[in-house]
């Protein structure tokens, strides 16, 4: 699967300031991603964990991922099969963690235009991603440096380091 391109991805909408405790609640941090996944976002959107499917996207308000350094908050979204997160801004620490785990974050100033349950597509023009809405409207996202996309393409820093060691 090419992580830089998808079609017909179903949208889950959440608000601004989604924190890492909402994504990976502390009470379940001693467990692995499977258990954390059952409780992902339960404090803000209780239908998410049970309803999310491979290839869906999460569209959020500003400041997504504020809070802790716990990377399970990013890892759990990959575990649940999300193709990308789309938001106007992210916590800087969450941003690093996501790419290190191969989770694609799209910084999209106009993310708020995207509606619940609509279907969106993704295309890259060079290093600039564009989200294409169901109505054909294109939303340009911030460019992503090549060294970060290398991690997304490899599935994260660990597989990338393994590739480089073997290569």
């Amino acid at each position: 699967m090419n992580p830089r391109s998808f079609n017909n991805a179903r949208v889950w909408r959440v608000g601004a300031d989604v924190d890492t405790d909402a994504l990976a609640p502390g009470a379940y941090m001693k467990h692995g991603l499977e258990v954390i996944g059952w409780h992902c976002l339960e404090a803000v959107r209780s239908d998410f964990a049970s309803g999310v499917r491979e290839g869906d996207v999460l569209v959020a308000g500003a400041n997504f991922g504020i809070g802790s350094s716990r990377e399970q908050a990013a890892g759990v979204l990959r575990h649940l099969g999300l193709a990308a997160v789309i938001a106007p801004s992210y916590s800087g620490l969450y941003f690093r963690n996501a790419f290190n785990l191969g989770l694609l974050l799209l910084t999209c100033p106009e993310a708020d235009k995207i509606e619940e349950s609509e279907r969106v597509a993704l295309r890259f023009e060079g290093d600039t991603p564009r989200v294409i809405r169901a109505n054909g409207q294109g939303l340009t996202c911030a460019p992503i440096p090549g060294f970060l996309m290398d991690m997304v393409d490899a599935g994260g820093l660990l597989p990338l380091l393994k590739q480089r060691k073997q290569g």
Binding site: D17, A43, S68, L93, N97, L101
Partner: protein, 424 residues
């Protein structure tokens, strides 16, 4: 020609092996120290290092702290602690601090930090090290794997947001109030992952534990680092912590140059009232007077943010010779064993216990939300850093964040109280 540089630029340039660096460029830095704990450390790192067949680049530059899952609350926590201890032995790590306090407090306490260093920590409150003139920031476990393998990390050279505090804090107003005020003004991502620097007469007047509170909660402002240039107060602390004199020789140069390009914000410490952040965001901040009707059932003094020596002293100054109100449970979890011992010698622990405090272990405790947390429906006033919904207990728990002075005054009166009323 050299341009005036910010403290952040100087620290990054040194670590990148460059004469200077420009804001916005991506550079690779050599890491002087990497800290991780029982949650972010061995249990996550060991399987990845084993999978790569790699080893830690320099064990002398690694500090492991057991603070999140100690003391074990259940069998799962016990297993994590066991993995951490077994791995520490197998790796023969020279610097392990086990159940003696919270990482951000024990790291400087044991002399691991000094001005000029470039450090990373496997915890979001790692900017605390900035109080000692280090560029220190938090990273996740996989990124820590990258550091462990290479001894290096990338970053984008940040702009500097300079928070300039003139005047002097009133008695009963503290660094925590300064931080809650700034987070309320700029928001939880107002730091935009840039470097914040705290300066001015009101900052210079603060003790090291108080300065650590400023740097610590830079995380809640969304900054990458929270820096304070070293001065005589810093030097005195570090000398006492056993940092060798040769490492403290060049301290004066680690400051922002006159004329360096900063975004400066002015504040007057003299007019600052105690601040309280209402559920469920540290940015949901107002003057304490706005919360006079709230009656807490739990008053919590804990965490790296709010249970250092200065925080314990502040609470004791309010509670001396008195008992907390009926219906309020006061809990105190001193941030380190050494600070607790110092507080004991000063009579501070006795005052807190006489006031009715339950003294808990020197660990992250309820703040991390990993073990024992608060019961359904509790109203909590807490000296910790975060009041996210569901963090410190069920979603029905309401946490108000405040300074240790305000937490103690509120415990005493049974409603959220301006500590200046009690201290007057």
């Amino acid at each position: 020609m050299t341009h005036p540089q910010t403290l952040a630029q100087k620290l990054i340039a040194r670590a990148a092996g460059r004469p200077q660096v420009a804001v916005g460029e991506v550079v690779t830095c050599q890491v002087d120290l990497a800290m991780f704990h029982d949650s972010s450390g061995p249990r996550r790192l060991k399987p990845m290092l084993d999978e790569l067949g790699a080893e830690i680049w320099d064990k002398n530059k690694v500090v492991l702290v057991l603070d999140h899952y100690v003391p074990a609350q259940d069998a799962d926590a016990q297993k994590i602690i066991q993995i951490t201890r077994d791995t520490a032995r197998q790796w023969q790590l020279p610097h392990v601090i086990d159940s003696e306090g919270i990482c951000h407090v024990v790291l400087p306490e044991r002399g691991h930090l000094h001005p000029g260093m470039f450090c990373v920590g496997g915890d979001s409150h790692s900017p605390t090290g900035g109080a000692f003139g280090c560029y220190m920031f938090g990273i996740g476990a996989t990124e820590m794997l990258g550091v462990c393998v290479s001894g290096q990390i990338w970053l984008q050279v940040p702009r500097t947001l300079r928070m300039h505090w003139s005047g002097r804090l009133q008695h009963g107003v503290s660094a925590k109030d300064m931080m809650l005020h700034m987070i309320g003004r700029f928001g939880m991502n107002g730091g935009q992952y840039q470097a914040v620097e705290f300066a001015g007469a009101a900052v210079q007047a603060l003790s090291m534990p108080e300065r650590m509170t400023l740097s610590n909660m830079s995380a809640e402002m969304g900054a990458q680092a929270g820096l304070i240039a070293a001065d005589d107060t810093t030097l005195a602390y570090l000398q006492q912590a056993g940092v060798p004199a040769d490492k403290l020789a060049q301290v004066a140069s680690w400051c922002t140059d006159e004329g360096a390009d900063c975004e400066q914000h002015e504040f007057d410490a003299s007019s600052l009232s105690p601040q309280v952040a209402a559920p469920h965001s540290p940015a949901n901040t107002r003057d304490v007077a706005a919360f006079a009707g709230i009656a807490p059932t739990i008053a919590y003094i804990g965490a790296c943010t709010g249970a250092k020596l200065e925080d314990l002293r502040a609470a004791a100054s309010v509670l001396k010779g008195q008992r907390v109100a009926a219906g309020v449970q006061l809990m105190v979890a001193p941030a380190s064993a050494r600070e607790q011992e110092q507080a004991r010698q000063e009579g501070v622990m006795q005052i807190l216990q006489d006031a009715g405090a339950t003294v808990l272990a020197n660990s992250c405790g309820a703040c991390a939300g990993y073990g024992a947390t608060f019961q359904e429906g509790a109203t909590v006033i807490s000296s910790t850093a975060r009041n996210f919904k569901g963090r410190m207990g069920p979603a029905s728990v309401n946490v108000y964040l405040a300074s240790p002075y305000t937490v103690a005054a509120s415990a005493l009166r049974g409603r959220i109280t301006d500590p200046r009323e009690v201290l007057a």
